[in-house]
């Protein structure tokens, strides 16, 4: 599927990052169009999280370009990238344990420019608590939340900044089947809001349900790209996953 440059939210070209002798991301390139959900798949250790870390500025690339809405952000400090409209969640969920749910979400929006008026910020926090299913928990310390609620809170914090691009690193991992259904619906509703999403995921049913397109990585390289159904039946992809994670979770 070809993308008009004007509608590309994220464009990655020739991205590379090595840790010592290990090339975790090797010549990676792809583009994500406005409102699209792009799946980023691959066996354990194939470089998915590293790719997200490079895009969000946790790590600086050795080479390559990363364009967020046309602007090269490669090597930019992560707080600047965040202010340009990128938000993310983490593979190992990270919430602010010493703060309550309301403050956690506030952290997501308080440092975006221009600053929101206080009343508007409070309204947005209420709406987000409601949206991720944490209504009524606003004064609850994040440390007391269950695993899924921590994930919800982390997502709400990411959404608080009204991001253009959202990077989700296995946000659906570890959920039970009914939680998974709720989670998938939630992500689908984000797409309906026009948020562009890069979804790193091992849960294949979720990938099928959500992703417009997918790329598959193996040992740092992109080995397949295309419409989700095509990619998942690709022989090279099936082979890369053999002995890795189960093809369906």
């Amino acid at each position: 599927m070809s993308q008009d440059t004007a509608t590309r939210v994220l464009e990655v070209e020739g991205l590379r990052r090595a840790f010592g002798g290990l090339v975790a991301v090797n010549d990676l390139g792809f583009a994500v169009g406005q409102g699209e959900i792009m799946g980023l798949l691959g066996p354990n250790g194939s470089g998915k999280t590293t790719a997200l870390n490079l895009i969000s500025g946790v790590l600086h690339p050795d080479a390559g370009a990363i364009r967020l809405m046309g602007r090269n952000i490669a090597g930019l400090a992560s707080y600047r990238i965040a202010r340009l409209g990128l938000a993310r969640t983490f593979q190992l969920v990270r919430v602010l344990d010493g703060m309550d749910c309301r403050e956690n979400i506030k952290a997501g929006l308080a440092f975006q420019k221009p600053h929101l008026p206080a009343a508007e910020a409070e309204d947005r926090i209420d709406a987000l608590l409601d949206r991720v299913g944490l209504a009524g928990h606003d004064r609850r310390p994040a440390a007391d939340l269950t695993y899924i609620d921590r994930k919800r809170l982390e997502l709400a914090r990411a959404l608080a900044a009204k991001p253009q691009l959202l990077l989700l690193d296995e946000w659906l991992a570890g959920l039970n089947p009914s939680e998974l259904t709720i989670g998938i619906e939630l992500i689908r509703s984000l797409k309906a809001d026009g948020i562009t999403i890069v979804l790193v995921e091992h849960v294949m049913s979720a990938v099928r349900a959500l992703c417009d397109r997918c790329i598959v990585m193996s040992s740092g390289r992109k080995i397949a790209e295309g419409a989700t159904a095509d990619v998942l039946s690709d022989a090279a992809v099936v082979k890369a996953y053999l002995g890795g994670v189960a093809a369906d979770a």
Binding site: Y79, V93, D97, Y147
Partner: protein, 314 residues
């Protein structure tokens, strides 16, 4: 809410007015003790302002205190007193900003070691300069400042520090520092310029410490680098702030007051074993009161350190 703030402000003013009367008691011993109490209260509170929310442990208190004291030793007789204080504060701020910019990217243990080394570095620089350039090691401080003046200045500084700390805690900067203390990676992804926030608070805290050093300097008539840069101050302030609880603005004072009294007693009674006792007290505090005295007053404590509750996806 604002009625509470007003009530509290009124109480604080009343307390300051009462405390301002201490020199009128005319008892030199009590005044000296009160000066010590205020000195450590301000130092520990300033320490907690930065280290409490960010959880960076700084041993640079002595470095800034010494810069302040030495500024007075050099300029005290030449320039008017307010100007001397201003220059001391500016010097402290500049040193802090440089140190902050170069070290606050480091994390945890490297920062501790660096700040400890910094004190020694500045002390050696001063010694080198005095020996090789000005050819004096040790200076007499003849300024027209009485003990009561020292006390009042410290009291004013203490009031300013609490007001400043209260304002910062309510500000976006204060919130940013709490987020940084919780999780620096998350802070960055929330759009917080973490380096700026940390350097800003480190600088504010260090400027206050420098001012304490400058205000205290006239207490000694003779100053040399080993007096001004006595690294024991760094450790005492650290212990006080931790005992009181550095995560609250009013925490460190709860540690500063009892420990100043205790140290006063111990250093008089056991001058030789004082440092050993200090070490033991430190260990006890860390084991028995991980959240400090302030932690005892809190209704419910969320998991200290927080991250332990994290569960890992299957």
């Amino acid at each position: 809410m604002s009625a509470r703030v007003a009530g509290f402000g009124f109480l604080a003013l009343a307390a300051i007015a009462l405390l301002a009367l201490v020199p009128r008691l005319g008892n030199a011993y009590y005044l000296a003790l009160a000066i010590s109490l205020l000195q450590y209260t301000v130092l520990a509170t300033a320490w907690g302002m930065f280290s409490g929310p960010t959880r960076y442990v700084s041993l640079a208190t002595t470095a800034f205190f010494g810069v302040g004291a030495y500024t007075v030793a050099v300029l005290g007789e030449i320039l008017p007193w307010p100007l001397v204080l201003l220059i001391a504060a500016a010097l402290g701020a500049v040193v802090a900003a440089i140190v902050g910019l170069s070290t606050l990217r480091l994390s945890g243990v490297y920062f501790v070691i660096f700040t400890f080394g910094l004190t020694e570095l500045i002390r050696q620089l001063v010694v080198w300069f005095e020996v090789n350039k000005s050819r004096v090691l040790g200076r007499y401080v003849f300024v027209d400042i009485t003990q009561a003046d020292i006390y009042w200045q410290l009291l004013g500084l203490a009031a300013a520090v609490f007001l400043l700390g209260w304002l910062i805690a309510r500000s976006r900067l204060g919130f940013a520092l709490r987020v940084i203390g919780e999780d620096e990676t998350v802070a960055k992804h929330c759009g917080i310029n973490t380096t700026f926030a940390k350097v800003a608070l480190f600088t504010i805290s260090a400027t206050v410490m420098t001012l304490v050093g400058a205000i205290m300097a006239p207490r000694w008539t003779y100053i040399e680098p080993s007096i001004a840069f006595n690294s024991m101050i760094s450790f005492q302030v650290l212990i006080m702030a931790l005992l009181g609880g550095a995560h609250r603005l009013w925490g460190p004072v709860l540690g500063a007051v009892p420990l100043t009294l205790l140290f006063e007693l111990l250093s008089a009674r056991f001058p030789n074993t004082f440092t050993i006792i200090l070490g033991c007290i430190f260990l006890l505090i860390v084991y028995m009161l991980p959240r400090g005295v302030a932690g005892l007053f809190e209704k419910r404590s969320t998991t200290p350190g927080g991250k332990t509750t994290q569960r890992v996806a299957a």
